[in-house]
């Protein structure tokens, strides 16, 4: 089984599956979602347009794998943001919200591809569904800890998390789609800050 890398010419990276996912990410970053074509991804990975079918049933499956890769990175960023924040619910939620927004600003096409059901039926891809739910779990843990410290109102943490995640997701997506008038990227982070503060303190007078 010990081969030299002469086989690299035939088998490429030895891991075409991940090479295709990586190529897809590059295309998303450089050209946006419109450029995410199966033939183009294959070209970028240095294989023929038929080669991806060795690893993915169809284009949808490749898109799902690229989305899943994005969710994994997003989750890592959220976890890191949470861990580095002061042990305080408002600080943790703000850090998570800012990391969410930062990902959306850095990888807008990838973010859209992850969340748009336009091209993907996520129920058909269990591992995609699973990783996209881990962000939810992270928030539940954060809120439950905040309740234990007496910082957060009582109630089912999962219900509160739906509200928090909706807020964070909503502001990120509206900024991404340019639905909210803004000048600079700094504004986006100020929007996250004020949105979370307002949610925390309430709108009622």
């Amino acid at each position: 089984m010990t081969e030299t890398n002469t086989s690299q010419r035939n088998y490429h990276h030895g891991d075409l599956r991940n090479a295709l996912i990586e190529a897809g990410r590059v295309i998303l970053a450089e050209e946006g979602s419109a450029g995410l074509e199966l033939r183009k991804v294959a070209r970028r990975a240095g294989v023929s347009h038929a080669a991806p079918y060795r690893h993915f049933a169809d284009k949808q499956a490749l898109l799902a794998a690229i989305a899943e890769d994005g969710f994994r990175e997003l989750l890592n960023r959220l976890q890191t943001a949470h861990d580095q924040a002061e042990i305080n619910t408002l600080a943790q939620l703000t850090a998570i919200g800012q990391a969410y927004m930062a990902f959306a600003l850095e990888c807008p096409a990838h973010m859209r591809e992850m969340f748009s059901g336009l091209t993907i039926d996520r129920y058909a891809y269990p591992s995609l569904h699973a990783v996209s739910k881990e962000a939810f779990t992270l928030l539940v843990t954060t809120v439950a800890a905040g309740q234990a410290r007496g910082e957060v109102v009582s109630g089912n943490p999962a219900d509160l998390v739906v509200t928090i995640w909706s807020m964070i997701h909503g502001v990120a997506m509206l900024v991404l789609e340019r639905q909210i008038p803004m000048q600079a990227e700094r504004d986006a982070h100020q929007l996250v800050q004020s949105a979370i503060e307002q949610l925390y303190a309430g709108l009622r007078n």
Copy 2:
């Protein structure tokens, strides 16, 4: 042969532009975004695949027109919901949120098409941009009136509206993309209700 509707055969509805938009809506409802092809829309409207180019520069322009049509209907629904609600900020925001969610549940593909920048650069279509901002204006009016009645905390209404709209949009889109576990449609409206109540009252203990 000599009747007047022979001209209908040539010029169709006399308003091919709107017929194409309507055909697009039907396709979105029946087949989802994947079926929204220019040739298919033309087929559905009863014209050749080249006919749409008389009315739209390209596929993007047709998609923008379909999105604009959706924003107009959404705006009407939000306005009606607002007008029929009790004169009370929480009641009005809840009614608007429920109307937003109802539209997302009734027309999921249209909703996604309206908000996904996947296929449309909305800056290139000023009338689309304009109508999508009217919802913002409706919310600003609602919040400012609530402040005048002393129901809502003081502050720039536009800032508060970004928060409110983000919440409403976020919960609707997460439900749409099945990111939030749910059994029934009724659950979706309960999520809106609790999200707005929590935003109104605040999460802080």
